[in-house]
Amino acid sequence: MNIIFLTLGLSIAIALVFLSAFIWATKKGQYDDLTTPSERMLLDDYEIKEIKKDDKEEKVK
């Protein structure tokens, strides 16, 4: 049963890998905003109707 020390070591190592991944993701700011991505996910299907580019630029300016 001494294999358990190997498996134990491995499992702790894997846990540490995941922990560092989480810490990296947090520091990158992925958890700063938890509400907007859920809204954004629902919006992918809509495209702006095609209108002549120059018309739009006129209105926007």
Binding site: I4, S11, F18, L19, F22, Y31, L42
Partner: protein, 815 residues
């Protein structure tokens, strides 16, 4: 049955009756309808946004609204605002708003975001704007991060956004507050994750040990447990240690003291036992405890942050950030950043602007709205060399001021600093839960010492040590300590759903103790707007009406606004106004189509006694010297004012009125609301109001925004019911969104329910701890039992808090 706006419109076309505004979903009545190209809207703002979206090909906005079942969005904010954003493109401003690493990126706080459709609209802007590369909106802070291209036309974003019906406030770069908040949030999450990983693995290893692992396995697992505990009791628990150190220095008791006590005792004694080769080791309980505590505190904090995020990150009270400064060399006024202003310089203020400095008036006259400092909404006239204070709004055309004080050294700046200080002391004072937790800890500590001595005598010191340690771990009010943030988090959340924003849970704890409630009169108990109560406007000719409308549109006075809103009709052609004059303290006059119109106020009035109405002013309209019309203006009590006062009195609270208005009006109001004459105060300045509140106990002040700043900070709980969110939350502890007084009653009830929940938790805690503690002292508790009992008690307490949360869904009959 749900009506989406589009379907209500399809039906409506058949019935020739539209029921909802096509853009914002607001209900339409016969009087507020606007017809444009065959579609019905509630106002011209909505119709122009609709047209704009059509032109740009963005009608999917309405499809998204329908898909997400959003019935109502807010009205467009200030669509006719003349606010200019051109200054953002000037070099001297750019540095303030963009950072060195991202010179083409600017952050804006967006007012008016309500749903996913808005998110879509804003984030689609780069698709067609020739100046904007990307837009990323954060819906919890309402801050949009916008990337521009080399053209550097930063003003394009706020200009465009304005036309969609939102308002974008540019945010300065060195908003340290926002950056620090983000870092703190990230650190908290990392601490929780470390605690979770360590506690979880320790539990796995401990399960092995409890199941009978022996010999070298038990040793190694035990060592691993110890190693995994170290980061938790040092890094993860650090915030608690810091908090205890500062509370000891301030000689205050807080609920963190028992927490630190448990962690240290648990860890140190377990460590000692580990070295002795003993199995009385409690690493799993200690680390799980730290994890649960961090998690529940994070939950509470995220709710409190969501509330305080409703204000933009700007430090200054005024959203203004630029000012016209006189340059002596070029003999001209130049637009400069507000921060560059020094005292002694001369500045020009435009009509409608809020004055951001203290200074001396250089113009011969100016009409100012001093409500921020005096509480009076009626404009005052100031003459040359009079002192002007920051916060006043300019009602007359233009004024030049010589600056004496800027920023936080202005009178209102100092006032806000004092509010900040008072607030900090309000939330750091000890509350019921702090005191309970600490007394309990003292009791446990003393019992532990005594028991150690006794058991050492009866048995032996090491058995005594183990039993005492088990006792401390079990009997400390740990579960109570983290059920507390949970209770408050849930209560605060519930309050937010109802539109009550409470800044901190400490304020919430004070609410059940309130005995005296002070109401401001104007704007709080009354609607605060000049309303026309009696006017035979129909008797006027169409030309006269148009002329009066054209004249009054030029003034910012509340009376002018009331007149405009009464006789304004859509598609009215307004004649030219020549020779417009402000006749100070009297009214206005002008020349229209050859006739001289004078619209003057007359102070000789008698008060009629109709319910809810208080007449304050009489206006006489003269044409070429002849009186052609008279009208009466006044204020009216809010509809639910009497009902609310009644409910509050039934709750055993004394209701008072604190007002700056004259004796007659205040007595009248009190009479109509059923408040005794002993409890009302009239003619009080803001300082006097604060003093009256100071002299009373257990006070709650209800007022509107900036007018009652000192009073709010003197009261135990300050509640503002009107005005903008960001300004109000700066000066008071609580803000009620819908301007409805009944929420004050709701607030009191939520506070009581939260307190009941805490009391229930307290009783359970005491009972459980006494029983379990006794068991521990008699040697029945070992690490395994502790590891099981603790989660059990935690679950029970969490359940109890949630049960209390359900009670918050109270229904009340409307008056």
């Amino acid at each position: 049955m749900k009506h989406t706006t589009a379907s209500s419109h399809r039906i409506s076309r058949d019935l020739i009756e539209a029921t909802h505004c096509l853009h914002c979903g607001e209900g339409l009545t016969l009087s507020n309808r606007v017809l444009s190209n065959g579609n019905y809207f509630c106002c011209s703002g909505c119709s122009s946004v609709f047209e704009l979206l059509n032109t740009l090909g963005l009608n999917d906005f309405y499809k998204i609204k329908e898909e997400q079942n959003i019935d109502k969005i807010g009205r467009p904010i200030d669509p006719e605002s003349t606010e200019e954003y051109g200054y953002l493109d000037q070099d001297n401003f750019i540095n303030q708003y963009t950072s060195v690493e991202y010179p083409l990126s600017m952050n804006f706080y967006i007012e008016g975001i309500h749903c996913g459709a808005c998110l879509w609209l804003l984030e689609r802007i780069p698709d067609y704007s020739p100046y904007i590369e990307s837009v990323c909106l954060n819906m919890s802070t309402n801050i949009a991060s916008v990337q521009f291209n080399e053209n550097k036309k930063f003003s394009s974003f706020p200009d465009l956004v304005k036309r969609f019906g939102y308002k974008a406030h540019p945010l300065k770069v060195e908003e340290e507050g926002q950056k620090l908040k983000k870092q703190e949030n990230q650190k908290s999450l990392i601490r929780i994750s470390v605690a979770a990983v360590c506690a979880g693995n320790i539990m796995l290893l401990s399960a092995a040990i409890y199941s009978g692992a022996e010999g070298i396995f038990a040793e190694q697992f035990g060592l691993l447990n110890l190693l995994l505990t170290l980061p938790v009791v040092t890094y993860c628990a650090l915030p608690f240690y810091k908090s205890v150190v500062s509370s000891i220095r301030a000689k205050r008791v807080t609920v963190d003291i028992p927490i630190v006590f448990v962690i240290l005792v648990g860890f140190l004694l377990s460590f000692y036992n580990f070295l002795r080769g003993n199995d009385q080791v409690y690493f799993d309980s200690v680390t799980a405890f730290v994890f649960l505590l961090l998690a529940s505190r994070y939950f509470l904090k995220s709710i409190q942050d969501r509330i305080s995020n409703k204000e933009p990150a700007s430090r200054s009270l005024f959203s203004q950030n630029k000012i016209l400064i006189w340059d002596n060399r070029n003999k001209q006024f130049f637009l400069e950043p507000l921060d560059d202003l020094r005292s002694g310089q001369r500045v020009k203020i435009n009509n409608g602007d809020r004055i951001p400095v203290d200074g001396k008036l250089l113009s011969p006259r100016a009409e100012l709205n001093l409500s921020v400092l005096t509480g009076e909404n009626i404009p005052q006239t100031l003459l040359k060399n009079d002192l002007i204070y920051a916060g006043s709004i300019l009602n007359s055309d233009q004024a030049t001021i010589e600056v004496t004080n800027t920023g936080s050294s202005t009178r209102i700046g100092k006032l806000l600093d004092e509010v900040e200080r008072n607030y900090k002391s309000k939330i750091s004072s000890s509350t019921y839960s702090d005191k309970f937790a600490t007394i309990f800890t003292l009791a446990v500590g003393i019992t532990a010492l005594i028991s150690f001595v006794i058991i050492s005598k009866v048995l032996d010191p090491s058995a005594a040590l183990n039993r005492v340690m088990a006792f401390v771990l079990i009997a400390c009010p740990c579960a109570f300590v983290f059920a507390l943030p949970l209770t408050f988090g849930l209560s605060l959340n519930k309050a937010v759903e109802k539109g009550i924003l409470v800044k901190s849970s400490k304020i919430f704890e004070k609410i059940p103790h309130i005995k005296n409630i002070f109401f401001d009169k104007t704007g709080t108990l009354t609607n605060g707007v000049y309303r026309i109560l009696k006017w035979d406007a129909q008797a006027l000719s169409k030309d006269d009406k148009a002329s009066i409308l054209a004249i009054e549109k030029k003034s910012n006075h509340p009376i002018a606004r009331a007149i405009v809103s009464r006789i304004s009709e859509p598609n009215m052609i307004l004649p030219n106004v020549i020779d417009f004059k402000h006749i100070y303290t009297k009214g206005v006059s002008a020349n229209v189509n050859g006739n001289v119109y004078e619209i003057l106020s007359d102070k000789n009035i008698d008060n009629t006694n109709e319910i809810n109405e208080i007449i304050t002013t009489k206006i006489i309209i003269k044409k070429d010297g002849q009186t052609i019309s008279e009208l009466y203006l006044g204020d009216s009590l809010k509809e639910d004012a009497k009902y609310v006062v009644n409910l509050l009195q039934k709750k055993d609270c004394k209701v008072h009125i604190l007002s700056g208005d004259n004796e007659n009006n205040v007595k009248n109001t009190a009479l109509k609301l059923g408040i005794g004459e002993r409890d009302i105060y009239w003619g009080k300045t803001p300082e006097e109001k604060a003093q009256i509140i100071n002299d009373s106990q257990n006070t709650l002040m209800v007022g509107d925004g900036l007018n009652d700043t000192s009073a709010f900070s003197s009261a135990d709980v300050g509640v503002s019911v009107q005005g903008s969110v960001e300004e109000s939350l700066k000066v008071s502890d609580t803000y009620i969104l819908n301007n409805s007084l009944i929420n004050v009653v709701d607030l009191l009830e939520y506070g009581a329910i939260a307190r009941d929940s805490i009391k229930r938790n307290t009783r359970f805690s005491v009972a459980y701890n006494v029983v379990a503690g006794t068991l521990a002292l008699f040697g029945y508790i070992n690490p395994l039992m502790a590891a099981v009992l603790m989660p059990l008690s935690s679950i029970l307490l969490i359940g109890s808090s949630l049960y209390g949360h359900n009670k918050l869904n109270i229904r009340r009959k409307t008056p």
